[in-house]
């Protein structure tokens, strides 16, 4: 069944927040993330005649992750110093500074992970996706997704604890 606009909007409402959280930990720019989510949905809409409504969520995840990879390649990222506040602006400047510091540490820790592991970790922890959904979005076997997630979590915890 071809994709209707109603189904696309419903999907947007459902996954905007988890998608944004995953993308933000990759791009670290609120506006970039929002633009990318928009682009991903528009791309799927452009192919609506070939898109099955049941698979739309999965396709959005795959498309958004591909776009994020391209964006990072284009930026020559992961470089430091351009983390924005992602709408978390606090009234207290000291809290703001603390958050910025934590984000920078997290960013460094994530950067230390191989990309394949990092993506699984982000989808699992921020996207709230299960192993089956991750394997489908990244087009990898479920067993691979599960082991990558386990290893990534262990490595990230070790790296972050070193910062304390």
């Amino acid at each position: 069944m071809p994709l209707s606009d109603g189904a696309l909007y419903a999907c947007y409402r459902r996954i905007e927040k988890p998608l944004y959280n995953v993308l933000y930990r990759q791009l670290w720019q609120a506006q970039d993330c929002q633009d990318l989510i928009h682009d991903a949905f528009m791309r799927i809409w452009a192919k609506r005649d070939q898109v099955d409504e049941a698979r739309v969520e999965n396709l959005i995840w795959t498309t958004a992750l591909n776009l994020a990879r391209n964006r990072l390649r284009w930026r020559g990222l992961w470089r430091f110093g351009d983390v924005d506040s992602a709408g978390m602006a606090a009234d207290d400047p000291s809290l703001e500074a603390e958050r910025y510091q934590r984000d920078a540490q997290l960013r460094r820790a994530l950067k230390s992970l191989p990309r394949a592991m990092r993506e699984v970790l982000l989808l699992s922890e921020f996207g709230g996706l299960g192993v089956a959904e991750i394997s489908s979005a990244l087009r990898i076997p479920p067993g691979t997704a599960a082991s990558r997630k386990h290893n990534a979590l262990a490595r990230l915890r070790a790296v972050l604890e070193n910062y304390q």
Binding site: Y24, Q34, I37, M42, G87, M88, L106, L156, R157
Partner: protein
Amino acid sequence: MSPFESWHASLNPPPGGLERLMRAIDTQRKPEAARWPRFVIAAAFGVVLIGIGVINRPAQNAMQLRLKDAVQTALTTKIDTQVYVKNGAGLELPSSTPNVRIVWIAQLTQPSATGVDSNEAAHRDD
């Protein structure tokens, strides 16, 4: 809170994302919708033009036939002008001067081949 715990802090996306998507899809749809009436108007215009052409064709043919007949008649009928045009015809035109007659000469070949002097075309009717 450790960096690992803060990692789980859930962020809210900037507002207006869905409205932006709806606007973009709406804008994309409008040209598609606008293309249909334009296509229909163009097609209807084309049909009207073809119709006019088809309707006018017999009339045009009839006019062409009448003109052809008139020319043929003019070329073959001898008029009472006392002017004989070899290989052609003479047509008397209205004249404002009573004692002057004006005749228009139509020739089918070069004047030199007719043997007719163009001075014969207009002469005083004494």
